[in-house]
Amino acid sequence: MSDARHLFSLDTAPPQTQNTIVSINCQGPVRRRLMDMGLTPGTQVAVEGAAPLGDPIIVWARGCRLALRCGEAAQITVAPTMDITESSKWLESCSSGRKHRHRQGQRGGGRRRRRQRGNRGSM
């Protein structure tokens, strides 16, 4: 996925940059919980920041805002997704995380749907 030099653990990832999860390095229930909450390899995560005492940290992943402890974040290896220059625009990127995903889905037709929206309106 990425050059080994650019790998770091999620708790040390610079805040407000977009990263891709490379691996989860723990086993058992903790691993299950992390993966069930959507932190699977390949997922885009952005660290929003740390809680006032430095721990836990708050991350964005799959459109959700999760708090997790540094100890657990340390088990998650990530690689930066974007250029450093781009990364300052993290706000944009974390909202449109889907666009940066490697597997490109069926994004076409978005405009068409938006037009349809009009007559469906509210419920």
Binding site: G28, R32, A51, G63, A67, R98, R101, G105
Partner: protein
Amino acid sequence: MPNAAANTTADTTPVVATLPVIAIAGNPNSGKTALFNAITGARQHVGNWPGVTVERKEGLIKRDGNEALLVDLPGTYAFGSRALDETIARDFIVNENPDVVINVVDSTHLERNLYLTLQLLEMDVPVIIALNMYDEANSLNLQIDVEKLSELLEVEVIPTVAVDGKGVDKLVCSAMRIAHANQGRKEQLKTRIAKRTPIIDYGKTIEAEIALLGKHLVDAYESNQGLYWRWQAIKLLEADIAIPKKFESVIDISAARGKTAHDLKAEVAEARARIRQVSGAEAIDLITEARYSHAARIAEAVIGQDSDPAKSSSYAIDRIVLNPWLAYPIFFGVIWVMFKITFTLSEPIAEWFVTLFDMFGSIVRGILMGIGVPLLLVDFLVDGIISGVGAVLEFAPPIFLLFLVISILEDIGYMARAALLSDRLMRAVGLHGKAFIPMILGFGCNVTGILATRSLDSPRDRLISILINPLISCAGRLPVYVLFATAFFKEKRSLVVFSLYAMGVLLAALAAKILSLFIEPDASSTFVLELPPYRMPRISAVLTHTWERGKEFLHKAGTVILLAVAIVWILANMPPGTGPGSPESFIGRIGTAIAPVFKPAGFGTWEAAVALMFGVVAKELIIGTLGVLYSASDASLTLAIQGAWTPLSAYAFMMMVLVYVPCVATIASIRRETGSWQWTTLAVAYTLVLGWILAVLVYQIGMLIGLG
């Protein structure tokens, strides 16, 4: 409040076994209970944090002459989760065969919610999707293509706004239709109704193993189970801890048909080993990833325009609430305001209540005497019942206000932030931030707090949280503090009461620390907490919730407290001939026997001993009992107390009340939630001993430094 725990069904109609069953399932905080309430008209607890509902609740739906049983379940992120509340939800769906599952999906977190949806669809139970929080999705400008979503998932999708009831009628109609179509069918047939093709393609390697295992299962079942075997095969590959009861029977059947259970288990192990060999990863990881990618693809396909979470107001609010400099001042400020409101605001109303009850007592006495009711009966009614119950009811205002503040905190979304902020502090005592939520709820009622521990992942954290919860001062103890603090510490009364609450929290922390040294740590303790958006508290919801909990207090006053107070009065006036409330009465003799124990704590009166004794039934009874015992001496309760206690012994007494023995309802819930008499005994014993020691320490040290 005991009823909150004992009553697991909504207060509607008795459960009829033959009704079709509709289950509500979905991620935590997706609006399941709000939907349940909208459908049944019930008033179950709704709150803006994950983990509000921790047990199943049932209610009846009646539509067009049809009836069905609606079951609200705790939220769950995934079927393999270990927290007890999530397990309850999963077990219900897997083992109880609901006729249809309403999957409540939070449309603002579509991708994550679909992960559970896919697991439900895979199970092949009939599913209908409530695309909830549709109003929020609209205001976030998320444009969800509902038809396309329905097409991709091959199930009906109905947008809803549970809190406004929008879309709910349509949802109920569809659910009822499916439920009735399914009802009465044999389990095997029931699952067949929905299907269609496999929802997820797991890729060649895994699909091959699924097919192989599935074939064994089909053989074992002897009947064509369509996609049902596929689900079982996937579950076996996942090594899901959730081996449903049904599987065990499969394994039994395979044993009966010449294939031993061991064979099947060995085959599963081999299949997993082959997958590991080919793809270098565990089957369960691959399956999880495949589900999430599928969920992501669907979300991507149906969401026309992404929202920008960073622009949401919640994010902006959190910049302040979680700001390094402001977070803790706000955190402690919130707690301070909570108590300030409870006392200061309630004071004028409370005083008014006191006058009201006094007047009521004298009016009733006047009337009864006037119409010639025997004196003894008048005394019983006025000095016994009205004084006793009245002494408790006078404290309705602060108690209702306390519930109001807790409801607002729950509704706004601050609970999850409090959990986040307290994590570091909680870690110092061997727990994590999520364990803080049961503590806050414990301020309202320990039974509620103890129930809320079900959402903790680790059994150890849960056990510790249960055992320390009684130290958190509940609303039932509030009347004692208010009465005594007002009687003895006029100016400083809020500070005195606050010190007791703080003491309770500190003792809980200390107890947690000590317990955590003795109870083996386990690996499953994780702190992964979803931060819900801030929501404007809806006045109607907050008031309803406050009322529902306050009602239990009133109910208690009209039942348990009434009864106990009557008993106290009778015992205090027996044997006939003894002066009412004299030490020679039955209750006086009991009290006199216990009283010496409390002598070193400064409140060695028999009245105090009796009050503490009845306080075990319900903490409110401490005041109720004192009300009866001192009512004979015409002066007001406050005056009587001022005569029997000194400020120092009053503080020691409040300390005792704070710590000693949880009330009966709490003891029962400790027993139920720990499932062990040993732990229950420990909880009772350590609080009793600790309470006594602290009360004695307060008094003796106070005497030493000349406060007495």
